[in-house]
Each structure stands twice: as C-alpha cells, then as structure tokens.
Symmetry: C2
Subunit: 238 residues, 2 copies
DNA sequence: CGGGATCTTGAGGATGCTCAACGCTAGTGG
DNA sequence: CCACTAGCGTTGAGCATCCTCAAGATCCCG
C-alpha cells in the first residue's frame, strides 16, 4: 500500500505546494493553510497501486499534487471503462454515497494529500469559499463528462484519438507545460479503455495520424501535434 | 418561447410543490420557502421547446417540477449525443463557465422554477444546507455520468437497452411510480442518441427482449419488466 | 377516417473487434 | 558495457456487430 506521512511533519507543506494554484486549496488565504495542513496526510503511491477501490467505504478525499492516475469502472467479465485521468491539481473522492463507485490507480508515482471525510466536511463548513470552489470544479468535471459521452457515443475512432490528443495537450499546457505536446503516462490499453476502443485500434489510428502528418512521435508515449488546426477539424468531425 | 409567471403570483407555490421532496429545495425549512419563491419564476415549456441553448449566456438555473426533458450535445454535422434526461426534482444549469455547453429541450410539457444566477448564488450563501445539497446532487450526477460512460464505451446494444430500461424503471419508482414499469416520454431516436446507437438498433433490441420474455410493451412508449433479475444479469453482461 | 410521424423489419455493407504473430525498447543483471 | 528479456506496441487477416438505406406497419391526433 501507499506510503503515508503526516503533512505537518514536512514543515510548511502547502506554502510550497506545486499544485495549489490548480487545486481546491487555491482559494484559501495563506493564514488558513496551516489549518488545512493539520488535517492532511501525505500519500505516495507507486505505479499500479490503488488510491481507492470500488465498494470500499468512502472515508477519504484526495488532492493530487503530482503524478497521474486512472479512474475506472469494470464489468463482471473484466471489461473496463476508464472514466478519467487525474493530474496535478485534481480532486478525488467526494461522494454522496457510502462507498466509492469506481477505482483509482496510480499510473506514475502519485503524490497526494488525503483528508478524512469528517475533517474535510468541517473544513468546507469553515471555508465557504472552498465549498464554492468545489462546486465549480464539479461543474467543470460534469462538462468534461458530457464531452466525453459525446466522444464515446458518437465519434469515430479517428475522431476519438484526435479529441484525446488535443485534450491531453491542452491540459498539460494549462498546467504550465509546452504547447501542442501530449505526454501520455498511460499505455495503449488505458487509452483504448478510455476511448471505448481496443488497443489495436488505438495503435492503428496513431500510425495513420503520423502518416498523414498531423502528429509526430517521440517514443510511443509522447506526441507532438504538428497541425493543431487540422487535428481540431478532425476531432470535431468536419 | 416558454410561458413565464412570477412564482409569488401563485399564492404559496413551494408549499404544495410536488417536486420539493426530490429537489434541491427539500432541505429548506418551511419558513425559508417564501424567500426562495420570491426569487423564482415559473416556466412552462411545450414539447420540443428549448430550456437552454448551447453557447447562450448561462443566466439562469432551473428546477424541474414536472415533465421530462432531454439534455444533449451535437457535432457540426448533426450527430447528437443525449447526455441525460431530466425529470421531476432534477436541477439544471449550474455552470462554472459563462455559457451553457449543452442544450436542453422539453420532451413533454415541462414545468420548472427558474432563478437568475446572481439571485441563486445569494441563496446559496444564505442557505449553506442548500449548497451542500447541491454538492451532493452533483456527486450523484457524476456517479451516473460515470455509469453512462461504461454503457457507451463498453456495453453491447442489448446490454445498453437493458441498462436503460432498468434505470428508467428505478427512477420512476423512486419518484413514487409503479415498480418495474419504464415509461418512455422520449422516442426511439432519443433513446438511440442517449445510448450511442441508431433508432433501428434500439427497435430491434426491444423486439428481441419482448421475444425472449424479459419485458412486455403497452404501446411503444411503456415497457413492463417481467423478469427484473434476468434483465439485470443482461445489463451487467453476465 | 385520414395522414404524418413514429416504429418496425429487412438486406447489404463498413467500422472496429478478435486472434495471432512480430518488432521494439527500456530496464536488468551479468 | 552489452546481451537478454518481458512488457508494450504495431501490423495483418478474417469476422461480428451495428450502421445505412429502404420499405412497410402502426399509432395517434386532428
């Protein structure tokens, strides 16, 4: 299981957190950060390790401070749907129900802040701005979920891949990375299970996009978008 | 466009509202309902009429008090993905962004309470219980969205239909209707666009489910689930 | 009772899946 | 430093599911 540390053991952890600007804690004033840190546990998970398991009592919420994770659901026969990837700044685990309805696993080494639900609830009561921020993040997440339903329900394989690469690239540039570069910490099977395809189809579509000069690859896990405009056109099915 | 009425023109509208128990307003005390009603506009939309349009400034939030609506996204070439159906008690329109990213249209006659966003924000500040309720509803909505991604990404046509009918039936029994009856206010094309199929495939699957004795039909728009257990098994792909 | 919309059914075809083999590469241990 | 290996990625051939196009049946509303 993942390594746990008391957050307060690390001096002033939140003040120097590289995820704060993108995270729910971004709305807190400097002087409130100590209160937040006092309730936090640091967590480090190795690739493949679970953060939450389906059916497990939903006792914690998480703030990803570094790394990447996959969130997914499975059918009894093993078919898997990845419902999202988590990156720096993402939030996980706010549940109305008693148990998690999904699983989350680290893709790379993941570092995260973990809060017990009762503590977190208290903090929402204490800092209304944080609750409002959470509500807005939930709305954004919902918007992305709707977008992804459109992908899964109505787009062709090529359109799905194009949408995926553009989204990854946008995401990483929002987090301060380079423009038009899609770093893929996940393997082809993960991408397939995210896009409702098979890994073979993902591979074939990648090859074809390379052949048509829309993207180039630096190894299998990094794509450079050469013609963003055309890729966008492809993604929107025009 | 839809008919609008001042909510306060209707005496004590909230006190007798048939949706309150299922809605965001359920958490308010009796004495606070007047405050809510003072900010509300009643709205009645005929079948096919829009509630919100994509790209439109997100100026209002809605509480559905009766009827059914579809929420969907479209691609430039007209492909449509219905991301959800709304029923009594459902909430619509809380956006972090400036504009709606989807469209919503009445399926049947829809009655709803509408609030201007600034007013609604004020009420959330005023009634923290309502904000918490909204956050929990958002979490439930997210859970359903994840479930639906699994349907769209990984289930066969038969499994999709089974899942859909079970969900409709459960939904209507939660709202106080009969058990194991799925009333379908939407047409086959709507169901298809919700499930990522074509209306022909929906029709064929319905026929086959009838033939195998899992369900019976009372007209095309009402299904009775004869073997809930087996339908569940089908829906989960076992 | 008429007519348009909706629903059903049929035949043929395309997209993406399955199964299988091969290539690459990064990480490991000698 | 290099050879080895296991996991990952790519490619190919055949096939299944679902889509497309078309026509007929049914239903509901006036």
């Amino acid at each position: 299981m993942a390594t746990l540390t008391k957050a307060t053991a690390n001096g002033e952890p939140c003040a120097s957190c590289e995820a704060r600007a993108f995270s729910i804690c971004g709305v807190l004033r400097e002087q409130d950060l100590a209160r937040l840190a006092s309730a936090a546990t640091f967590l480090e998970a190795a690739p493949g390790e679970p953060l939450v398991r389906r059916g497990q009592a939903a006792q914690h919420v998480f703030n990803i401070s570094a790394g990447a994770a996959r969130v997914f659901k499975t059918l009894p026969d093993g078919r898997r749907q990845i419902v999202g990837f988590l990156f720096r700044g993402d939030f996980l685990g706010w549940e109305a129900e008693e148990a998690y309805a999904y699983e989350a696993e680290a893709l790379t080494v993941v570092r995260a802040c973990r809060f017990a639900r009762p503590d977190f609830r208290d903090m929402l009561d204490e800092f209304p701005a944080m609750e409002r921020r959470l509500l807005c993040m939930a709305s954004d997440e919902m918007r992305e979920a709707h977008e992804h339903m459109l992908v899964l329900g109505r787009k062709s394989a090529a359109e799905r891949l194009a949408t995926f690469l553009l989204r990854l690239a946008r995401r990483s540039s929002n987090l301060g990375g380079a423009e038009n570069v899609a770093d893929m910490p996940m393997n082809r099977a993960d991408i397939a299970d995210y896009l409702g395809l098979t890994s073979e189809t993902v591979s074939r579509q990648m090859t074809q996009m390379k052949a048509s000069g829309l993207v180039s690859f630096e190894g299998a896990r990094r794509a450079r978008i050469l013609r963003p405009q055309q890729l966008e056109t492809l993604a929107e099915g025009r």
